[in-house]
């Protein structure tokens, strides 16, 4: 196993270098640069823009820029943001943390809802409940997250109007934007925790819905397969109770692919929750990434891609190792 891990780690090096070259090349194919918009300012002299470009090394050939960037990268320096003139890491660390919060809660919600739903669908195959779970799953799968978020925002406003008319309560039951309340800094630690959770519930629910469909359907199929297998029939014949058969004998092997997939969650933890973050004004990595793309703050974009690539590679390795750990039929040599 140890030799296998070392071998895999060495294999990651050329993959990583190839990925960085590709990223850098693609980033250079985009027309213009960070200072392009400045050229449209009627009172900024061209020589000033030239000087700014030189300061960030943008006047150098592409390969020189790449080598300089890689030199920094091996020392752990992701480069400097043009926008804030700060190290890239300082610019992305906090949004990454915020996205991680969101991703973790959505994963918890996803597992909490999907496992019982998948098991129920498999055990009560073709029942009304199974069909209802299927319809809801497919709806979740078919509805883009950013759209669902907007629908929920609209619903929250609608609910406010109703609660105002019925009960005189003119407040939103969940926030429609942001991560904290305006008085956040005056709260104690417990209050701050709940405030973030309160803001996080809707966006993480939205993120979870898209995963629920796939998770539930795959788990249902896995469960049906295992529930029809010989060892389950044997267990039932030996008098093992229904619950034990379902949750111990069938669910355990059925859930193996999901456990093995935990490694792949690594990049998604910091990769951002996508446009939900934008729609709900969550200060995560997606808005940061989009803002960096828009302003061509290229080292921030590359920094985020490098981290995601690294985590993807490490996550894949972890997944493979977990697979071997949970499934005795798989061995590495």
């Amino acid at each position: 196993m140890f030799v296998y891990i070392v071998k895999r780690l060495f294999q990651l090096i050329p993959t990583f270098i190839g990925a960085t070259m590709l990223m850098f090349l693609i980033s250079q194919l985009v027309p213009g640069d960070f200072f392009k918009a400045k050229e449209l300012e009627p009172n900024v002299r061209p020589e000033t823009i030239q000087r700014m470009r030189a300061e960030f090394g943008l006047d150098k050939p592409v390969y020189v820029q790449y080598v300089n960037w890689m030199k920094n990268l091996v020392t752990g320096n992701l480069g400097q943001s043009f926008v804030s003139n700060q190290p890239v890491w300082a610019r992305i660390a906090r949004p990454m943390r915020n996205s991680m919060y969101l991703a973790m809660l959505s994963i918890v919600l996803l597992w909490l809802v999907s496992i019982p739903a998948g098991v129920y669908s498999a055990v009560r195959q073709y029942s009304f409940g199974d069909q209802a779970v299927s319809v809801i799953s497919y709806l979740g799968l078919a509805t883009p997250n950013f759209f669902l978020a907007q629908v929920i925002i609209l619903t929250l406003f609608l609910v406010r109007t109703l609660t105002k008319d019925w009960f005189g309560f003119n407040q939103l039951i969940f926030p429609v934007a942001g991560m904290t309340s305006s008085n956040y800094l005056t709260m104690n630690a417990w209050g701050q925790f709940w405030d973030v959770m309160w803001h996080m519930f809707i966006p993480s629910l939205v993120v979870a819905t898209s995963g629920m469909a796939g998770f539930t359907r795959v788990l249902r199929a896995q469960m049906i397969e295992y529930l029809g297998s010989d060892f389950i029939r044997t267990a039932r014949a030996k008098g093992v109770g229904h619950g034990k058969v379902t949750y111990k004998h069938a669910l355990r092997p059925a859930i193996i692919p999901f456990v093995a997939g935990i490694g792949n969650l690594l990049p998604s933890l910091v990769g951002g929750a996508g446009l939900v973050e934008v729609v709900m004004s969550w200060p995560g990595i997606t808005p940061t990434f989009l803002a960096a793309l828009q302003s061509q703050d290229i080292y921030v974009v590359l920094g985020l891609l490098v981290i995601t690539t690294l985590l993807l590679m490490v996550g894949n390795l972890i997944s493979d190792l977990l697979l071997a750990a949970v499934d005795p039929r798989i061995r590495y040599n």
Partner: protein, 584 residues
């Protein structure tokens, strides 16, 4: 509207404000000091995180940076919403020399930084020193130049500053309106560690409560991606009072929630989490009005208050050596006049802006009405006239596709590029192209990446890679609203012709008028010159101006102290922050 006093009259005036402290005029607010209520918070939104807290290196323009670094700071001189007259603010007095080459300023006594230390002439002088060092990389660097000649500042006595201008300049006073930076921090860093030490100061990782400001409100906490809260500067009221002598500001705090984009900002506004929002269009206004009618929020909506401070236009490329036919067509004034006659501004206003727009005929933004020459040739929408003009240049018959052709069988066709994603511009281009097609001119609309568009527009030489571009410009001045990089030939935003020389007598004339006008200190005389520039441009018509959309405002009904009616627009702003208060 009161007009800008000429610099000459300002020299005679030798404006002074010996009285301490600075008294904020009643005319700058729609409420009287007697109505003002102390306490409360004004909550607004920001689109993104501030990029830096360093006032010297900041290059952004959004509510926080505009407030902290310029508009809200103790600038030496400033203007209120009721007049174009410059008033001493951080200065106790200022005097311009008769030849317009120097301005002497005496710094006001009694001003204090938010840490209680005095604001001195050195705090202003060091800003000049830092901004004029190219290694510091300040965004204000270019403002210290007239062409290639630098504007200089010298210290005079303990609290005096003298600004030297290489030539008389209408844009002198905006240069004098410099904001201080604490010499004890920035000057010290510069003297000990040079430009790099200055650049390293006050990034977004700074503990904002340790930063020092001259403003009414100063940053107290900053949560990246979430909000920044500014608290009342306890020393501001010592030298800023209302007309009744009450210390300003009235509010306790000023907070900015980072919304990410305007859709989220609108959600925050509808949720009652912020007190002010600038609706982008009539759709936003409809949503807000709906919430008001439902009784969900209690806000004031001001629709179509004034035009925005930007332009939108089509420019044809005169440097197209690789396609002599197109080059000849684009250089032909009658072709451009024909195209002007198919620019249906009324349709654009109705279809693109739902009626909230104003036609534009010259390079001066309609918001700067004082400078707009309303008598220029307008070439109103008239397809028949357009067809006649096309016929006059040889395009007098149509081919089987209904396109105009000349004697050689060549069609009048061109690609009209604009930036993808800007839906208003894409719609304007489509309306224009449809109207052109009606008379047989083939304008093919192409939406391309913004940077690619700018690359094409700013390309130089005899053969540039575009036909026509629909784009806009922002920026400019109330004192001389003509772009230094736009009007004169061989400047980078002289977009229709970036060859080394003027190609027409009108271009040469406009360049000369620009230089004369900028050095003309008498405002009315300068305006006459500005009128001539616009008339000359309208005759040459190198740029076809379209429409300026209108600006809208909305704020909580609880807020008072905004500008009076007619004094709210994107150039003047909506309020003077120290005078704003929460009525309930």
């Amino acid at each position: 509207m009161k007009r800008l006093l000429t610099l000459i009259s300002l020299m005679a005036l030798a404006a002074s404000a010996f009285a301490q402290p600075f008294v904020w005029p009643d005319a700058w607010s729609n409420a009287t000091p007697g109505e003002a209520v102390r306490g409360g918070e004004l909550r607004i939104s920001l689109i993104g995180d501030p990029r830096t807290f360093n006032p010297v290196t900041s290059a952004e323009s959004q509510a926080l940076s505009d407030y902290l670094f310029t508009n809200g700071a103790a600038v030496l001189i400033m203007r209120g919403p009721d007049s174009d007259e410059w008033l001493p603010y951080g200065a106790s007095s200022f005097t311009a020399s008769e030849d317009g080459m120097t301005v002497d300023v005496t710094v006001r006594d009694g001003m204090k930084w938010s840490d209680g230390s005095p604001i001195t002439a050195q705090d202003y002088y060091i800003r000049y020193v830092l901004e004029t060092d190219p290694d510091v990389g300040s965004n204000g660097y270019d403002s210290w130049f007239m062409g290639d000649d630098q504007i200089t500042v010298e210290r005079v006595g303990d609290n005096g500053l003298r600004f030297h201008f290489p030539r008389p300049d209408r844009l002198a006073f905006p240069v004098v309106a410099v904001a201080p930076v604490p010499d004890a921090i920035f000057g010290e860093a510069y003297r000990s560690g040079g430009a790099e030490a200055v650049k390293a100061l006050w990034g977004t990782d700074v503990d904002v409560s340790t930063t020092v400001w001259s403003n009414a409100f100063v940053p107290a906490t900053f949560q990246p991606g979430e909000r920044i809260i500014l608290q009342r500067n306890p020393y501001f009221g010592e030298w800023n009072v209302d007309s009744a002598g009450n210390a300003l500001p009235y509010l306790d705090s000023y907070s900015m929630t980072i919304a990410g984009d305007l859709d989220s900002a609108l959600n925050l506004y509808l949720a009652g989490d912020i007190d002010q929002f600038s609706p982008r269009n009539l759709d936003d206004i409809g949503v807000i009005n709906n919430a008001v009618n439902n009784g969900d929020i209690d806000v004031t909506v001001m629709e179509s208050v004034s035009p925005v401070a930007s332009s939108q236009f089509i420019v044809w490329n005169w440097n197209k050596a690789s396609d002599p036919d197109k080059q000849a067509l684009f250089r032909n004034a009658n072709f451009r006049r024909a195209m002007a006659h198919v620019m249906d501004r009324d349709a654009i206003i109705d279809l693109v802006y739902n009626g909230a727009g104003i036609p534009m005929y010259t390079n001066v933004y309609p918001i700067n009405d004082y400078w707009v020459n309303h008598d220029v040739e307008k070439y109103p929408y008239d397809p028949e006239k357009a067809a006649e003009l096309m016929a006059s240049i040889g395009y007098d018959r149509k081919n089987a596709d209904g396109l105009l052709i000349n004697a050689e069988g060549k069609t009048a066709s061109f690609i009209l590029a604009t930036n993808a994603g800007n839906t208003a511009r894409e719609q304007i281009a489509a309306i224009f192209a449809d109207a052109a097609r009606e008379i047989g001119v083939d304008a093919q609309v192409q939406a391309i990446d913004f940077n690619l568009l700018v690359d094409q527009l700013l390309s130089e030489g005899e053969d540039r890679p575009f036909d026509a571009i629909l784009i806009g410009l922002t920026g400019g001045s109330r004192d001389w609203p003509f772009g230094v990089n736009v009007i004169p030939c061989a400047t980078n935003l002289h977009m229709y012709n970036t060859s080394d020389a003027c190609l027409t007598a009108q271009e040469t004339l406009m360049g000369q008028l620009f230089n004369v006008g900028r050095e003309t200190l008498d405002t009315e005389a300068a305006r006459d010159i500005g009128y001539e520039i616009q008339a000359t441009e309208a005759d040459l018509l190198p740029i076809l101006y379209a429409v300026s959309p209108m600006a809208h405002y909305s704020w909580s009904s609880a807020l008072r102290g905004y500008h009076n009616e007619g004094q709210i627009n994107p150039l003047l702003g909506a309020y003077e922050l120290p005078l704003v208060f929460m009525a309930r």
